[in-house]
Symmetry: C2
Subunit: 446 residues, 2 copies
């Protein structure tokens, strides 16, 4: 491993001349960490479409230039803006107390006087869908489903439906509002936000999440006193269409510049944490990867794309795909880092059969970092999955996500949750994979 490190990692500690906002960038093993530190400290939370999002875009452009990228530009797209306002949830007598809640992204607010009602509790979305409208009408629906941990975060997709579709299903049955148990794995008293959806032909009701301890608390209250009433007040702003940006930078290929190896992450974050794990770590990793590979003069072009508004539903990724539709045939590869900052434990691909020997070759190199061979069913990452659907070959360096949903989408997603050593292992893997593909002429397409 030491030998490998010496050959792959650029250890020169070249300090870039210009000091921007006081933070220094050294071209060494710490580069990814230093970038996520700079982003989270100097920009902080960066909700898509906000003033902070614009500062994040400016930050990224400036850092790309400092890092010696050959081309740096941004591409605008329009999006519906949503902004969190004050929110409170109180239990009425006899158990008068406040519960910790957060609005789900995209939710409407309540009327000024709030919504006060009894609660209809369900174990999961499916149980709500099968409910008798009589039991739901005019109530506040409460979905109390637990998210369990695993390395792949594979239970998330089973539980997150309540967040995304719960408001529509509850409104169909006449509910006044919906609250869900946070889609998170920690018992810290933080509520977990995330995007939710409405349907055109169904009433738009307010949707929020309560923390895991509060969900336990509320279920205990309902067991003692099923008539418990809640009072929900929530003010959110939905001012309409705004412009955000994807930020793009390239290291031009030395031999086949038209062939694009895309590595990405997303620049936006939710507004309550500083977006260190989601997705500052990914931003730092992909920005550092191509910057450090530059001195190896990669044969193909490495394009780093920092997608905008991933959290709102892959809005930047769809804009990128639309704008670059004619060029997608030149995208020989794409991959995204967007699952926190845990160590990479598996290498998955989405390659054609003819490229699987090459995939095995990459994995042999990754093996030294403790990375196992995976499947050929990789998504490539949330934003990159949009490109995969359009025929671009992808791979996923799978991160250990055991603790990811302890922090994800909460105020607790902050820099101190990143283990610098794990981030270095990520960087080594990203450089190895990206460098190998950028110097190859293997056709990865299915």
């Amino acid at each position: 491993m030491k030998l490998w490190l010496a050959t792959i990692i650029v250890t020169t500690t070249l300090t870039l001349g210009q000091q921007v906002q006081g933070s220094e960038l050294k071209m060494d093993n710490d580069l990814a960490y230093n970038l996520v530190e700079s982003l989270t400290v100097e920009v902080g939370p960066r909700l898509a479409g906000s003033e902070a999002d614009a500062r994040a875009v400016a930050w990224a452009e400036q850092k790309f230039k400092q890092l010696g990228y050959d081309k740096v530009w941004s591409e605008p797209f329009t999006m519906q803006y949503w902004e969190r306002g004050n929110a409170s949830l109180r239990v009425e007598a006899p158990f008068n107390q406040a519960l910790v809640l957060t609005a789900l992204g995209g939710s409407v607010g309540t009327p000024f006087d709030g919504i006060t009602s009894q609660v209809a509790m369900f174990d999961n979305l499916q149980q709500l869908q099968q409910a008798d409208p009589v039991d739901v009408k005019d109530k506040i629906v409460f979905i109390n489903q637990t998210l369990h941990k695993d390395i792949r975060g594979s239970f998330y997709s089973q539980v997150v439906g309540a967040r995304a579709q719960g408001a529509v299903e509850a409104a169909k049955l006449g509910a006044k509002a919906i609250i869900i148990r946070s889609v998170g794995t920690s018992n810290n008293r933080f509520a977990h936000t995330g995007i939710m959806r409405y349907a055109d032909d169904v009433a738009r009701i307010p949707a929020a999440a309560i923390s895991v301890p509060d969900a336990i608390q509320l279920s205990k209250m309902l067991a003692i006193h099923p008539e418990t009433r809640l009072s929900l007040h929530m003010k959110n702003n939905l001012p309409g269409e705004v412009t955000s940006h994807n930020v793009i930078a390239e290291i031009t290929g030395s031999k086949r510049p038209d062939e694009i190896v895309l590595i990405g992450a997303h620049i936006d974050s939710w507004d309550e944490g500083t977006g260190a794990l989601d997705d500052g770590a990914g931003v730092g990793l992909v920005m550092a990867t191509a910057a450090l590979l530059k001195q190896q003069k990669p044969e193909r072009t490495i394009r780093v794309v920092l997608f905008g508004n991933e959290e709102g539903g892959l809005i930047g990724a769809r804009a990128y795909a639309a704008r670059h539709a004619a060029e997608l045939q030149n995208h020989v590869f794409a991959s995204e880092s967007d699952f926190g900052a845990g160590r990479i434990w598996r290498f998955d691909t989405g390659f054609g059969e003819q490229a699987l020997a090459f995939a095995a070759d990459i994995q042999q190199d990754l093996k030294h970092l403790g990375i196992a061979a995976g499947t050929n069913t990789a998504s490539g990452g949330p934003d990159v999955s949009v490109l995969k659907a359009l025929g671009v070959p992808v791979a996923s360096l799978q991160q250990d996500g055991t603790d990811y949903f302890d922090f994800h989408h909460t105020p607790n997603d902050t820099l101190d949750k990143i283990d610098p050593a794990a981030l270095q292992q990520n960087l080594q893997a990203w450089m190895l994979m990206t460098g190998k593909i950028a110097n190859s002429s293997v056709d990865l397409r299915k």
Copy 2:
């Protein structure tokens, strides 16, 4: 241990006839847990002097009666009320973002337009005290001291001075406000509240705490950009004098009813968590202890005191000591549970020399629960220390407080943080110690 359990713990699962607010009380090993569950769920946060505090008092009186106590009463005392209002702290350009903060108990608010100023950062209170006023005047003082963990929580007293006295010291040097790094051991993004003090002849400036990740964040900003400005807005209410109560209940002694064995905890809690560890666990423990000992017909009277307004500075304890001054000579012993819900690991006493053999005898019995012999310098607990100072013999069943300051005085102090098995071990120790002392005629006084 099994044998011991069988002899000491009342295992009859007698369900009390009347069901109050739906929760059942069984006279078994789970009684302490069931009481803290009932208190935290059905009453929740109970800031001294608030409406919830009054509900907690009513809850305690009702539970004592249900549990078969021979006498139950409350004793009023007056106190200065303080109530938290909205608070926000924002970093101004170029690093615009919100930091997580909470007002310290007793703090005044800011002017309506807030306080916006540069920051004067110090490592600890001593460094602030030695500062040149020129470096502090018109600034927001920031004390950035880390609290380290240990089983005794012994670093707390070294760090908490910044919280208690920081506002006075900062104001003496002309500061406009003070913020401190939370006096807590977790890197969860919760700020840690607690009481602070003003001095009569020093300007009253607003005082608040920021979470540990925010303290790290702010110190990083100041390292990059020392001129960073903060904007603090805080509204607290100090409406004046109100009445709160100590709640008292007794199991009358079968042979020497005039001799009082006092076991205590505090009924009030801070307002942001549900006060499960501080001090719901203690409340559950002492209420359960005497209730379960009743069938053993203890020779001395066991008096359970749930002190009011401990958090505001032992206000209920002082009122108790004043009201019972003439009777204190009959207080043959006092002890309090107020350090969370961790396992008891050591038995400390504050006895006269003639009683140390008896102390050793108690410890021999406690040994089966993994409890070691301690010192003869016990405080007895925060409220009970007031009685100790007046000559009442005390003991402390020392709890493992390694994780206590992860949760203490934050929104994260909730029921799920209590390990029921550890609470059972506490209950066994409390029953053993209290039973032994209530059946003894040894004079414990110094």
